[in-house]
């Protein structure tokens, strides 16, 4: 039953990541397309532009949600691949624990910076 819930969660997080990542990529690359149409938009990778987004709650929310859903989708996908390597049940439990620990560390690392930047502005 656990694997069924994980599979459903994998599909749901996959759809959410696709939507959030499409927003992120569009925001980062639209200035090239708009530039072709003669519309001048600031390069989103500059410090000023990046800090503007870091001070907007909606962007901080999108980044943290993308990170959380993306980490779950990626690490659960990696676990699905590792399940095919014919590891023993105990080895698989250890690997699952390592993946969870890895995900938690990267979640803390990834959420700290946007929250710290957002808090410093307010």
């Amino acid at each position: 039953m656990k694997n069924t819930y994980l599979q459903i969660s994998q599909m749901i997080t996959g759809a959410l990541v696709a939507i959030l990542l499409a927003i992120h990529i569009a925001a980062q690359q639209s200035y090239v397309v708009l530039g072709l149409l003669g519309i001048k938009v600031a390069d989103p990778t500059t410090w000023v532009s990046m800090m503007e987004r870091a001070h907007q709650g909606s962007w901080v929310g999108i980044y943290i949600a993308l990170l959380a859903f993306g980490l779950f989708h990626a690490l659960n996908g990696l676990r699905n691949i590792l399940l095919e390597t014919n590891l023993s049940a105990s080895a698989m439990r250890i690997l699952t624990g390592c993946l969870i620990a890895f995900g938690v560390i990267f979640l803390i690392l990834g959420t700290y910076t946007p929250i710290a930047l957002f808090s410093s502005y307010r």
């Binding site: 696709a18 090239v32 410090w47 990626a74 014919n86 690392l109 700290y112």
Partner: protein, 148 residues
Amino acid sequence: MSDKGPHQNYLGMRGWIWAGNYKLERYLYLLHRITGLGLLLFGLFHLTATTIFRAQGEAVWTSTISFLDNPLFRVGEFLVVAAFSYHAINGLRLIIQELGFALGKPVPPIYPFTDAIRRKRAWTLVILAAIMVLAVAFFIDFTVRGWG
């Protein structure tokens, strides 16, 4: 009494490449996994760059961005977008089929048989179209911004 337990995965990951009569969908699935692993690696690199370097202030951020602004990383950037596009579109197809849609009606195997490649030609065209769009976007971007 016959053994009714699950079959062992004797081939392991080698079975991804070849285990007999694989059809096009199986290779789409293989590419889905490869692009997924690639996106995971890029995601970790991207996360490190946008947290550790960003937290160190404007000077470090600007030097990181200027270091990454070279043809090698830009080709990599386009590969990431291509991998994401493929992974998302194929993932959507897998979700639709998992929910029981777009599977087609089952038909009895009557001679002459239609091979899988012909049946999946529509999907092949969609994938080729997506690759062509990305290739055009790639060259337009290089024309606008140059190689530098």
